[in-house]
């Protein structure tokens, strides 16, 4: 009895000790509750304040993470969470993604104007909840916690997808998303239960976890790992679990799509990164060659499916869906470059991806709402009518392709360098195949990304309407574009910082 009491006290003490590092999460939860409560009032003023309140919440968490105390290496909350530099940088990224989503939503007429405040609170509250889930994903070091965090994100995602309930496409997308999502969650949970059965532990960052897996039946381990990865790959929209992406991208409101293409993808990558970190030790990696092969094939398939399918798309939203699949492929490829210190490169790539995607989705939102662009052909000649927006779109698209002088090129260069290094030291043919495929598919990528500037500038438009963009939209386009130039010419600014956080 006394023993139990002592254990309990210890547990409670450790929870209190770790609480400090969870301040951002508490803050997000607090703002979430605040938003839900305030949404109950019918006052128009309060309703108008809601997005700004959400913005404040996200902003303060980002500030807290940037200037906060040095990251602690220790494991908190009964070995469930770890607030290290990786998690910290991750949550800064998620915070920025959340802020950008709100900024895009404020410009979005469908969300802002038509609903006249109705359902506004829940929309912004859910965004906060989603970011909270992402933060937890980045911090989890325990399979059960990973599952819970992913589910928090998923549930928020399902509802956000059908924000515009009156639209048929949105409901269809939401339904598909829920069906795929719950299925993959179930499969993942099934795999996790195998792991628990085999090792008696869910803490996959422990060496003992992998040690006991070494003693288990290898086929069993591989099957369990594939089942778990099904859930992870679903979240980052990697092949063959990407089928939800095009429909959801087509149906969900633009800001939400922009968030999906960055937030959950980045968090999923961080989860995988933590999961495969054990493979950096060659002696462990050698015993799990099958899992690596599976991941390699998945990365290759993701690259190929993303880039080649994008060629056939006729709408900008679907095009971007497959583009986002292809970026998942590049990130997955980086995660396989064991022994080459790829963490900084991956974080750099994700940062760049964040700005390019939000910038381009903002452009697509403007195009869709102001100029009624539904298909790629509708961009015809618009570049001449609104040269500023056209040039900014060109900038984002070239960065997505990975051409200098834009940060997308730097991101790809870093990842390719890591893969080359890993190939040099390990001599695995799979890495060379991935490298060559990645580089050649970049050429393919140009072919579909250039379609938008092709219609914008090369095709002529007969109508001579006078098109305008609001100043706030212009400023936002610049806001997302500037980092792409800065991070090309001075990537070391960010890399040094990442380095410091990770150290």
């Amino acid at each position: 009895m006394e023993e139990q009491a002592a254990q309990l006290t210890q547990a409670i003490n450790s929870i209190f000790a770790g609480a400090g590092t969870l301040l951002p999460e508490f803050l997000l939860t607090g703002f979430f509750l605040l938003l839900v409560t305030l949404d109950l009032f019918r006052s128009k003023t309060i309703k108008r304040l809601l997005p700004w309140l959400a913005l404040t919440g996200l902003f303060s968490t980002v500030i807290l993470q940037v200037i906060g105390p040095p990251a602690s290496e220790g494991v908190q909350f009964l070995n469930l969470l770890r607030s290290d530099g990786l998690a910290r940088y991750g949550s800064i990224l998620f915070g920025v993604a959340g802020i950008s989503t709100i900024l895009l939503s404020l410009q979005n007429q469908k969300i802002e104007k038509r609903k006249q405040g109705e359902g506004r609170g829940e929309y912004y509250a859910l965004l906060l909840m989603l970011v909270l889930g992402l933060n937890l994903m980045a911090k989890s070091v325990n399979l059960l916690m990973v599952f819970l965090a992913i589910e928090v994100v998923s549930i928020a995602s399902y509802i956000l997808t059908i924000t515009l309930k009156e639209e048929k496409r949105a409901v269809e997308a939401g339904l598909k998303y829920v069906l795929y999502g719950t299925l993959s969650a179930g499969v993942m949970l099934y795999g996790m239960s195998f792991f628990y059965g085999l090792t008696g532990s869910l803490d996959y960052t422990l060496v003992s976890f992998w040690q006991s897996l070494l003693e288990a039946n290898p086929l069993m381990v591989t099957v369990a790992a594939i089942l778990v990865f099904a859930g992870f790959l679903f979240k980052i929209s990697a092949a063959p679990f990407h089928f939800w992406a095009p429909d959801v991208y087509q149906g969900a409101p633009m800001p939400v799509v922009a968030l999906f293409s960055t937030g959950p993808k980045m968090a999923g990558i961080l989860v995988i990164l933590r999961f495969v970190a054990a493979f950096a030790d060659p002696s462990i990696a050698a015993s799990f060659a099958d899992i690596q092969l599976f991941l390699g094939v998945a990365a290759l398939a993701t690259l190929a499916v993303g880039n080649l399918t994008a060629l056939w798309q006729r709408t900008p939203r679907r095009l971007m869906a497959f583009s986002s699949v292809s970026h998942a492929g590049f990130l997955l490829m980086a995660l396989l470059a064991f022994g080459s210190n790829y963490t900084a490169s991956v974080l750099f790539y994700m940062t760049v991806l964040l700005f390019m995607n939000f910038g381009l989705f903002l452009f697509l939102q403007i195009a869709e709402e102001e100029w009624q662009v539904k298909k790629l052909e509708d961009f015809q000649g618009l570049g001449k009518l609104v040269p500023f927006a056209g040039i900014m779109a060109l900038l984002y698209l070239l960065s997505l392709t990975g051409l200098p002088p834009l940060a997308g090129f730097m991101g790809k260069l870093l990842i390719f360098s890591n893969v080359w290094e890993a190939y040099t030291s390990s001599g695995q043919t799979m890495l060379l195949v991935l490298l060559v495929a990645g580089i050649l598919l970049t050429g393919v990528a140009l072919f579909y990304y250039i379609k938008i500037p092709y219609y914008l500038f090369l095709k002529r438009n007969q109508t001579a309407e006078n098109l305008v963009i609001s100043l706030s939209n212009k400023l936002l386009l610049v806001f997302f574009g500037l980092p792409l130039l800065v991070l090309f010419f001075k990537p070391d600014l960010l890399l040094h910082w990442i380095e410091k956080l990770l150290a």
Partner: protein, 581 residues
């Protein structure tokens, strides 16, 4: 003269910024700004040419003049050590000729663009950006910097063809873009392989505290670092990996165990991996040269591009391909260069003959000239593959001379197209009667191009053929029949030029009836004289006084051939011995 190279690169960029800030209706002043920008660039390039010391020894790894070197990007990746990218520009005998050419053609291009009316602002903005990136390409000595400028050429060119081009411009623009991008991705793979394998001995010495920070390392320290590297006693964290092209030329700077080290012994498809790397980067530049069989983008791009852009494309952009081979491919992979000499020379001769035969079959005058470019660029490959001093001198001379002459040829085509909105050879006859001055310049351009003694083209072809004939004895490269076949190319050139001349210009004046309504045939105006006369004078000048250029490039070429031949043979033996256990 301290920052003359940066001045050369950034003057057009500055002019572009001015154009960007000008309101859209000020079309004339915009043209003036563009002209001023390119004129300053030309003046600087002439100054550089005059100030360049052609007698200073150069061996490829050193001997660059007017060097500017600044730290740009530097970051560490943990145990992999530091990565360093520098703003590193310099000029040697090879680049000085290209810089001069770029300066001259840039101005001619602006004058030729004077008649542009559609979206003037965008046009000159892109034009000036293009001039910056081309110049940067010719001056960069850091591979990353080179690649940046190399890739950045694509975009302005894509829009210049795609917006201001002819009826099939969209197709031509995208074809150009895809071809060149695929080429540059090949180069990218090799660039990644190289910079992860090569260290900068100087910066590594700093990192290891062998000498004080910022102190220049003398030859002994460099040698010490290189020996320590090869013995494997430098820890990964101390290595400073670099993009510097001169550092990549020294096998001693390669990290032991890296894939591109001469002794790595790694093979891919039964070839040593260094050979595979050579083939990749060679293919990348081959597309730009262009050589048969990857030349098909060129005729399309030329036919659709507006006249000034055709001029730029033929006169300077194609030179980037040949220049890349001389600056990067051969000095970094001399072993593979020696091994594949016959392939390179063979592709050259194939281009010479195939390009000439295609030119013979063309009815469109612009296409004829485009194919003649393919044919002439074949001489560059042939001269380079011979690895003799004459051959390489000839290759560089050919690039310069072709730059001047092809600019003239495309301008000449532009003149008739402006008048008649058509350029089919069979639609015209006896133009000499109505346009005597024009005909005179056409004759000069054609004869200069087919290699008449007295014009620069003759010197170039002569040197290349001398080099490739003597190659079997002098360097052991190339079978002799290659040079003999190449001579047929000159005959064919005479055939297609003279035949075109005879069909279009001589005989009784006649033009195709359907053209008569729109056509307004008159002789050259003042603006056209302003472009054609200087080019004709230059073609003659460099044909009569070849030492004007050869004196400047001679030392660099000697250094180049020595480096490639000596190191090449030595490294080839090492590579081959390392893969056979």
């Amino acid at each position: 003269m301290d920052f003359i190279l940066s001045g050369l690169i950034f003057t057009p960029l500055l002019a572009a910024l001015v154009v960007l800030l000008m309101p859209i209706r000020l079309q004339k002043p915009m043209k003036g700004v563009a002209l001023l920008g390119t004129l300053v660039q030309m003046a600087l390039s002439v100054l550089l040419y005059l100030g360049f010391d052609g007698a200073a020894p150069a061996n490829g790894q050193s001997g660059y003049q007017f060097v500017e070197k600044l730290d740009w990007i530097s970051f560490s990746l943990g145990s992999l050590g530091r990565f360093q990218i520098e703003y590193f520009v310099g000029v040697d005998g090879v680049s000085i000729s290209m810089v001069l050419l770029t300066g001259i053609v840039g101005v001619i291009g602006v004058i030729s663009s004077w008649t542009i009316t559609k979206n003037v602002k965008g046009y000159f903005l892109l034009y000036l950006l293009l001039m910056t990136s081309v110049m940067g390409c010719f001056l960069a000595l850091d591979f990353f910097l080179f690649y940046l400028f190399f890739e950045f050429m694509l975009l302005p060119m894509y829009f210049l063809i795609g917006i201001w081009g002819g009826p099939k411009r969209e197709y031509a623009a995208i074809k150009f873009f895809i071809y060149t991008l695929v080429g540059s991705l090949f180069i990218l793979i090799v660039m990644i392989g190289l910079y992860t394998s090569v260290i900068d001995p100087q910066a590594t010495a700093w990192q290891m505290n062998l000498i004080g920070q910022g102190m220049p390392a003398d030859a002994n320290v460099i040698l010490q670092v290189q020996q320590m590297l090869q013995q494997g006693v430098i820890s990964g964290a101390d290595m400073v990996r670099t993009f510097s092209i001169p550092a990549m030329m020294e096998p001693a700077n390669f990290i032991p165990g890296s894939l591109l080290h001469v002794l790595s012994g790694v093979t891919l498809f039964d070839l040593p991996i260094r050979f595979v790397a050579f083939l990749l980067v060679f293919a990348g530049f081959l597309i730009k040269v262009p050589s048969v069989p990857v030349h098909t983008w060129l005729p399309d791009a030329h036919v659709e591009a507006p006249t000034p852009i055709s001029v730029l494309l033929a006169a300077i952009l194609l030179k980037v391909g040949g220049y890349g081979l001389i600056r990067i491919v051969y000095p970094v992979f001399p072993d593979a260069g020696a091994y594949f000499a016959t392939l390179v020379g063979g592709l050259g001769v194939l281009s010479i003959i195939y390009g000439a035969l295609c030119a013979l079959a063309m009815n469109d005058l612009k296409k004829l000239i485009a194919y003649s470019s393919v044919s002439h660029m074949g001489f560059v490959l042939l001269g380079l593959a011979s690895l003799t001093a004459e051959g390489v001198n000839g290759a560089i001379y050919m690039m310069f001379s072709h730059g001047i002459i092809s600019a003239m040829l495309f301008l000449v085509v532009g003149v008739i197209y402006d008048r008649a909105h058509d350029r089919m050879i069979l639609n015209f006859r006896g133009l000499a009667k109505r346009m005597p001055a024009y005909t005179a310049f056409v004759v000069i351009a054609f004869f200069a191009s087919l290699g008449l003694p007295g014009f620069s083209g003759f010197i170039a072809e002569l040197l290349v053929l001398l080099g490739s004939f003597s190659a079997p004895e002098a360097t052991g490269m190339l079978p002799r029949w290659l040079a003999m076949v190449a001579v047929i190319g000159i005959l064919l050139a005479a055939a297609y030029y003279l035949w075109a001349l005879q069909r279009m210009f001589f005989g009784k004046y006649w033009i195709f009836p359907e053209l008569r309504e729109k056509a307004n045939i008159f002789d050259l105006d003042r603006r056209e004289y302003l472009m054609l006369v200087p080019l004709a004078i230059l073609a003659l000048l460099f044909g009569i006084f070849p030492h004007l250029l050869l004196d400047k490039i001679g030392m660099a070429v000697t250094g180049f051939t020595e480096l490639v031949l000596l190191n090449g043979q030595e490294q080839l033996n090492m590579v081959l011995s390392s893969i056979i256990p």
